[in-house]
């Protein structure tokens, strides 16, 4: 049976590659059809992110928050809850972090301490707001998806309200907060790019997530609750506590993501629409198949596609919505368990037959 597991694993990789190839194929075909200069467009989309240091930095600017929201949604997804609070929490945390940073700016707090404090504010914001749908779900059995989606909108407007009333900068013409003080901002690793020190926060978060998943009792509990709640109950696992904790930790990581993003890339808080970063975190978690070890891979893949899309958007006439279609195709193909399933069965069948021949 060892053979079966090898085939399943090898097949998983093969399937992702085929899914990517098909999705790219569809996109490229469409680009060919609608673009006046298809080759330039294809080039920009596929290779664009690697053509300059600035663009590569742009890719990392997305990669860093994806590490954090991906790890966060991994907690939620592994416990089999569809809690989408990461989306709203990301923005709320960015808002509150900016607020605290502006308030404490000029107080002479050393850079490292200031940043650490702000990261804690971000994570706490996430945990605080994230605990609402988690508690409602686990204590009162109210659907977490509905609560989290409604809260996402509430948080967006709450953040907008805060900007308008408490943080607004009169000296500029668009709606944004006062500038975040320089000593609070994460330093760029390569000057004038979006690759900043937040990457270390992201890597540490992913490592800690993997550690919790595979080296603590909580990780075992989360996976067992997610895989079969009835079995978890019969084994005496405290499901309420485990699932609340998993969702709150997931939201805290998403909050951390928002904090790192705002301190790393922006000079003011200026989000007036949902950022999509929380949902993207879920995509990263799906791509990495609930296994934190694969999060960097999933995060990089998504960051690469998103960056290619935005480069395509500002260098050619192809709209960015178009790339969303391709992403949807990829995610659909990867998430659909039975895509190419018949082929996998044939492989296993053949291996099994041969093995039985050897035995006979």
């Amino acid at each position: 049976m060892k053979e079966t597991r090898k085939i399943e694993f090898g097949f998983e990789i093969f399937r992702i590659i085929v899914a990517l190839a098909i999705a790219y194929g569809i996109t490229l075909l469409c680009i060919m059809i609608i673009s006046d200069d298809p080759f330039q467009a294809v080039y920009m989309f596929a290779v664009g992110p690697f053509t300059s240091i600035r663009r590569l930095g742009q890719l990392f600017g997305k990669f860093i928050p994806y590490l954090l929201t991906g790890a966060g949604m991994c907690f939620v997804y592994a416990s089999n809850r569809f809690n989408l609070i990461g989306e709203g929490v990301y923005l709320m945390s960015g808002c509150l972090v900016a607020y605290v940073a502006v308030q404490l700016g000029g107080a002479g707090i050393p850079h490292i301490l200031f940043v650490l404090l702000l990261l804690v504010v971000g994570a706490l914001t996430g945990a605080l707001f994230g605990s609402v749908p988690a508690l409602l779900r686990e204590k009162m059995n109210i659907n977490e998806t509905v609560v989290s989606i409604m809260m996402n909108w509430a948080m967006l407007y709450l953040a907008t309200y805060l900007v308008k009333t408490k943080m607004y900068d009169n000296s500029i013409t668009y709606m944004a907060s006062k500038p975040i003080p320089q000593e609070a901002r994460l330093t760029a690793l390569i000057p004038r790019t979006q690759l900043h020190t937040g990457i270390f926060v992201g890597i540490i978060a992913v490592a800690v997530t993997a550690l919790i998943f595979y080296r603590t009792a909580l990780g075992y509990d989360i996976r067992i609750c997610g895989a079969n709640p009835k079995f978890a109950k019969a084994s005496g696992i405290n499901m309420t506590a485990t699932l609340i904790l998993a969702q709150v930790m997931g939201a805290a990581l998403a909050g951390l993501g928002g904090a790192v993003d705002i301190l790393g890339i922006y000079d003011r808080y200026m989000w007036t629409a949902l950022t999509n970063m929380g949902f993207d975190g879920l995509i990263v978690a799906v791509l990495s198949k609930k296994n934190p070890v694969f999060i960097p891979l999933g995060a990089f893949l998504l960051a690469y596609m998103r960056t290619g899309a935005s480069i395509l958007n500002y260098t050619t006439e192809i709209p960015i919505e178009f790339v969303d279609i391709m992403q949807a195709v990829i995610i659909l193909l990867i998430a659909a368990e039975h895509f190419l399933g018949g082929f996998k069965e044939k492989l296993i069948f053949r291996a099994s037959k041969e093995k039985n021949k050897e035995v006979a």
């Binding site: 080296r215 009792a217 079995f231 109950k233 019969a234």
Partner: protein
Amino acid sequence: MAEVLRMQDITKIYPNGFMANKDVNLVIREGEIHALVGENGAGKTTLMKILFGMEDFQGGQVLLDGKDACISSPLDAIAKGIGMVHQHFMQVPSLSVAENVTLGIEPGQGLLFDKKKAAQITQEISDRYQLKVNANERIADMGVGLRQKVEILKALVRKCRILILDEPTAVLTPQETQELFVQLKALKKDGIAIIFISHKLEEVMALCDRVTVLRAGRTVGTDVIENLNPTKISRMMVGRDVVLEIEKEPAAPTELVLQVEDIHYKNAENIMTVNGVTFGIRRGEVVGIAGVEGNGQNEVAELISGMLPLTQGEIRICGKSIRGKSVRRIRDMGMAYISEDRMVYGCAANLPIRENMMADRIHSQKYRKFGLFIDTKKINQDIDGLIETFEVACDDRAQPVRMLSGGNIQKVIVAREFSSGAHLILANQPTRGIDVGTTEMIRKTLVRKAREEGVAVLLVSSDLNEVLEVSDRLLVMKDGKIVAHFEDASLVSEELLGEYMLGVRQMTSEEMGEMV
């Protein structure tokens, strides 16, 4: 006699790589009762699912009347004269027998359903084969035995020539089984070929004309019943002699571990499924609860384990009440629970053996390292030890449980529950649908736990052989009540037990005596 069905060199491989059938051959003749026997996991059910069009297969041929028959779906199978009675009945409880039987082939004109005609058709066939079913009765009001007859009726009304019965006697009392056999013999006289799947060799000897034995997905052989006896068949099934009798020394029970006092339980449909049950178990003894399934035994086990909330009555483990305690706390008091449905409550199929074996003890101080982390080395050591002790056939501890066979999944579960250091082991249908080898291991371990380690064991089972062999004392449950108590299970016959299970007999409380 003419040959009606030939399954030739059938090979079936499941998507997880498990080869359920390998070059299996089965020939069925007109008007015979053909037993298909084998350990669980030997491939009987798979073979029948292939015949009934529920599973596709990768190699071989199915021939009906000598012609290649490509059976694509159950509907197709029915059209070709094959009927199947499943272990779990496919019925609509709120409808009448006639409505159930004619479901999908309703008589009538256009959109109108001719209820009278349906009842007439149903009653006619029921009477012809003396199935004693009233066509106008509601399914919900009927007993298990009769509901099974309805399943047979469904096949007969659809004019089946080959009738598959998948472990039909598992849910029946001995008396109901006898009645079924008489009726099956009547069908046989009418030229209908019957494929009878069973674990119970005495039944096969009493009923069948020929026997085909499967082992590990392959055909061991086919022979007429005159050339066989139960010992021979069981040797063919497992390739060795099986001691189905358990040898054990007399029990020497000491202090009380479990006290159950007048418990009641009302289920979601507001039915009192447990209605005043009182008994106790002492260290060193095995107490069995027998009964036809669905008479409250499962609820009793679930109440003791904490899976169902205790609302009325009292349950004590080692003198302490479990009322209001979580499963975790009850387990900490020394309870281990092998649940009835292993895929739902016993394991997480997608997770590795490691997680499944550690589910109840991962929080134990024994596996802590540096306060926060778990000691992976120690965990792996212990798991490898359990895999070896319980002879779980697997690649390694990281293999997902879903890739194992049923018997090996149950081994993973019992390895966990038997090694938790419990004072009280609840075994709820621990060997249902499991191969003979694993069954024997589980039964022996239950007895050994009681005798050598002084564990109190509660065995809930609908397998009469099992409760009689393993138990020291025996209780019988019927309609949520205890109706009989035997001080010495080894003195009870299956027939007598059957009469209590069926409600033909009932003990007075004086006869039952003290139940601790």
